[in-house]
């Protein structure tokens, strides 16, 4: 049984988490769930294919892979299909979402859910204030 954690680019969907922060999140998750981590994979920045993870998996045959979030899964449909094909026996853990599972159904659901969140509109909290937020709430409901 070999467990790996994976750090990626700082931009993770809506989140911005430096790699040492990612490590803290994953290691805390592993500790809380009695998972012993043996392998740490640093994916390169500006890459969202988890290709390094796949190469390492060919050599080390991971049983568990811990990531911070579902947003770290490849975005491209073909890439995710390939990823799923090559990791169908691996149990994945997503620390921020607190979910785990393995196989095509689970990973496809994670991929789809990440897409829903990715497509959702966002309010930039740096560009608004409490008064404006209240106005947004009232206006949208009274339309």
């Amino acid at each position: 049984m070999t467990t790996a954690t994976v750090t990626t680019d700082i931009h993770i969907g809506h989140f911005k988490i430096p790699s040492n922060g990612q490590n803290m999140i994953m290691n805390d998750y592993a500790r809380r769930n009695n998972i012993s981590v043996e392998f740490v994979i640093p994916e390169p920045i500006m890459s969202n294919q988890l290709a390094t993870t796949l190469w390492c998996h060919e050599d080390y045959n991971f049983s568990h892979i811990v990531l911070c979030s579902i947003h770290q899964l490849p975005k491209d449909k073909k890439k995710i299909e390939n990823f799923i094909k090559k990791t169908k026996d691996v149990e994945f853990h997503f620390a921020l979402e607190g979910i785990k599972g393995k196989g095509e159904f689970f990973l496809n659901n994670c991929f789809k859910e990440a897409e829903v969140f990715y497509k959702a509109k966002k309010i930039d909290s740096l560009k608004t204030d409490w008064i404006e937020l209240y106005k947004l709430f009232k206006d949208s409901k009274n339309k």
Binding site: H71, E97, G98, V116, D129, Y134
Partner: protein
């Protein structure tokens, strides 16, 4: 007045009956069973009594352990299906981990100080549903400040450059917790100031809450860490 009308243009909160009480009962029983040492007989009042002798840290640990009960938010959502649909449609972002909240009677117990939900980073389009697991026949419930007064207080603090600061914390609230019956929920907007007060009883208060919003409305700081996508089926 519809629930939406009450929340947006009325007091900012509304009380409504649970749509599917059997479903909610299941949630109450699963949680009670998880916490009872004697699993053969599920009794919420026995659990409420037992909890009064627990320490603050024991209560806190229980609340944390229940966060891993992932299905709680779906059960809660399905218990209030029609309410959720009226407010947010049938495709929603719902809190991944429903909060089960325990409040102990007496002075100096852990309690929610006055706050409004928006301060946590949920979007202004979020609604909160809060439901007790038993009748609230003492002051163990939550008090809610009406929308006009809540917003005036938020505005006052905003002008001072503060968020949930002394104006809110030290305000002299007319503390009258809402006396809900088992089978009723309170739904409120994220702008409504609310909190708990000390109360006298021989039993703890146990309640459950979830936050949700339409997937068509923008998110703010809370994302997949807090919410999950959920489609309500008929």
């Amino acid at each position: 007045m519809s629930i939406q009308e009450k929340i947006v243009n009325g007091p900012g909160y509304a009380i409504a009956p649970i749509d599917d009480l059997k479903c909610f009962e299941k949630l109450r029983d699963v949680i009670t069973e998880k916490l009872q040492s004697n699993k053969s007989e599920i009794d919420i009042n026995e659990l409420r009594l037992k909890m009064t002798s627990m320490s603050k840290s024991e209560i806190n640990n229980i609340m944390i352990s229940l966060l891993s009960f992932n299905q709680a938010s779906e059960i809660m959502l399905n218990s209030c299906k029609n309410i959720v649909k009226e407010l947010a449609g049938d495709e929603v972002f719902v809190q991944r981990r429903a909060n089960t909240i325990f409040n102990l009677p007496g002075k100096d117990q852990r309690r929610q100080w006055p706050h409004y939900e928006l301060m946590s980073g949920i979007s202004p389009f979020t609604y909160v549903i809060w439901a007790p697991f038993h009748d609230l026949d003492d002051k163990g419930g939550v008090f809610y400040i009406n929308q006009t007064e809540s917003f005036e207080t938020i505005k006052k603090e905003h002008e001072q450059g503060l968020v949930n600061g002394p104006t809110i914390l030290n305000k002299n609230y007319d503390e009258k917790p809402v006396k809900l019956k088992y089978g009723e929920v309170i739904i409120f907007s994220p702008f409504i100031l609310h909190g708990n007060i000390d109360f006298n009883s021989n039993k703890a208060r146990i309640a459950c809450s979830i936050r949700f919003q339409s997937i068509d409305k923008p998110l703010m700081q809370k994302n997949s860490d807090f919410y999950k996508y959920y489609k309500i089926n008929e």
